[in-house]
């Protein structure tokens, strides 16, 4: 990581333009989630994606941004073992002071808005075909108000994870230039908590025999979503490299190249693994592999060399289909979008790989401490909050609603009114 420098006007303009591309990553993930769900819930899935992004952004604007804070803002700090531990931001509510902040801080806040939207969007795909829209919005509000700001402050807001380098000599502190931890791992563990609380789709795990395959309804959406996501991810990682890693202009082409190579390596590995496992490549698993490669690139695109990015992508791509299969067949986890394997596991692998690849001494330990914080705090906290929320606003739709589909049940109309929706054999 390069030392922080004031952003020049051209670099500020470039980072802002890149951040305007980044929402395409959200669009891509929304398309993938919708395609991997069923046709009778497609409109609800897409509307829900918009709702998750909106609610998370509003919640973050109202209170979250104050808790996330910035490196030079007021914060809640504890002195322990002779060191300063910065736990939570204490900036003004309702984006107070945003207009007075410097260009770097304004870009950082904009980046965090996109990251909170991603963190809130990811569980929505895992709850496909059974998670009620009001409950999803409530969960997005909790993510935007409490959980994401905590992790974002630790990582980007001058929190104790970011200070690991200065306080304990651990490399440059916890490094997460593209939001692999704060957006993807957090979104992935939120998906796990949701799946545990809401339970599997009806008919997914029959009393006898293996889990039932419930394939996505539109693999073209899924694969097109992957291509759209690539554009968004390029903007995301490049903007993150400028804002958080202080990468100079001449270093940005390598970041873009690493992003593409990580995804390409991951796709190649998933293609090969599914070809070997099933005799033919599996399109939806290949899409998951591609996304896992993009997620790993969030952590290490600004650090790795091109061949290292390929290797990181290869490992992510090989592991993703195996993990998806393990979760479905052995662990009874019904995750239609694969967010847990793709975003949680992919993000953790990317953060770990960044520790191995970074040149500074102690960086690997800093990354391990960051991973310990994400797993040891975020997952139990999200599970507790979602469990409480489920008591107030039940997450799961009633059986009749699940039978007729979320579109008819929640929206009163289907996504494809001209199509005859086939009868689902799993409801016999």
């Amino acid at each position: 990581m390069n030392p922080p420098m004031p952003l020049s006007d051209p670099l500020f303009a470039l980072a802002l333009a890149l951040l305007l591309l980044a929402p395409l990553a959200l669009a891509g993930v929304a398309l993938v989630n919708t395609g991997l769900g069923r046709s009778r819930s497609a409109a609800q899935a897409m509307l829900g994606s918009l709702a998750m992004v909106s609610v998370a952004a509003l919640a973050f604007a109202v209170a979250g941004v104050a808790l996330a804070g910035g490196p030079n803002d007021a914060s809640y700090t504890v002195q322990l073992a002779g060191k300063s531990w910065n736990w939570l931001g204490a900036s003004p509510l309702l984006l107070g002071g945003f207009g007075l902040a410097g260009p770097q801080q304004q870009l950082a806040v904009l980046f965090e808005f996109l990251a909170v939207a991603m963190a809130a969007l990811l569980p929505w795909g895992s709850g496909a075909d059974r998670w009620r829209l009001p409950a999803g919005c409530a969960a997005a509000a909790v993510t935007g108000t409490l959980v994401f700001p905590l992790v974002a402050h630790w990582t980007w807001g001058g929190g104790w994870l970011a200070q690991l380098g200065a306080n304990f000599g651990l490399g440059a502190g916890f490094v997460d230039g593209g939001g692999a931890g704060a957006a993807h791992v957090l979104g992935g563990v939120s998906a796990l908590a949701l799946v545990w609380i809401a339970g599997p789709r009806r008919g997914k795990f029959p009393r006898e025999g293996l889990a039932t395959a419930l394939p996505g309804h539109n693999v073209v959406y899924v694969l097109f979503g992957c291509l759209v996501a690539l554009v968004g991810w390029l903007g995301w990682n490049l903007a993150g490299a400028v804002i958080w890693l202080h990468t100079p202009l001449y270093g940005l082409p390598a970041v873009a190249l690493n992003t593409l190579l990580a995804a390409a390596g991951a796709l190649a590995a998933t293609f090969a693994v599914t070809r070997i496992r099933f005799g033919k490549p599996d399109a939806s698993l290949c899409a998951n592999g591609w996304l896992a490669g993009l997620v790993t690139s969030c952590a290490c695109a600004g650090i790795a060399r091109p061949w290292e990015a390929i290797m990181v992508g290869l490992v992510a791509g090989a592991g993703t289909p195996l993990l998806v299969e393990l979760m479905e067949l052995a662990l009874s986890i019904d995750d239609p979008s694969g967010a847990i394997a793709v975003h949680a596991a992919g993000g953790l692998w990317g953060l770990l790989a960044a520790g191995f690849l970074a040149p500074q001494a102690g960086q690997l330990v800093a990354q391990l401490v960051g991973i310990a914080a994400l797993l040891g705090v975020a997952l139990p906290l999200v599970y507790l909050l979602f469990w409480l929320l489920d008591k107030a606003i039940p997450f799961r739709v009633d059986p009749d609603g699940e039978r007729i589909g979320m579109d008819l049940h929640e929206l009163g109309g289907g996504a494809y009114p001209d199509f005859v929706i086939h009868r689902d054999e799993s409801y016999k």
Partner: protein, 60 residues
């Protein structure tokens, strides 16, 4: 059982924090942080087992 597993996970996190505060040497810190991660892994495994057990009970 799932809740027990989830309660174990923060214990692993605090172990990692303790490593930072207690040990000055990088190797010792790294070893202790890895131990903290292992405890978190155990907690996660218990939570997953609890989820599987609850699902099996629900079927019966």
């Amino acid at each position: 059982m799932k809740l027990a597993g989830l309660l174990v996970m923060p214990a692993g996190f605090f172990l990692s924090l303790a490593a930072l505060a207690l040990f000055p040497a990088l190797t010792q810190r790294a070893a202790f942080v890895v131990c903290g991660l292992a405890v978190e892994g155990l907690g996660l495994a218990v939570a997953v087992r609890g989820h599987m057990g609850a699902r099996r009970e629900g079927e019966q």
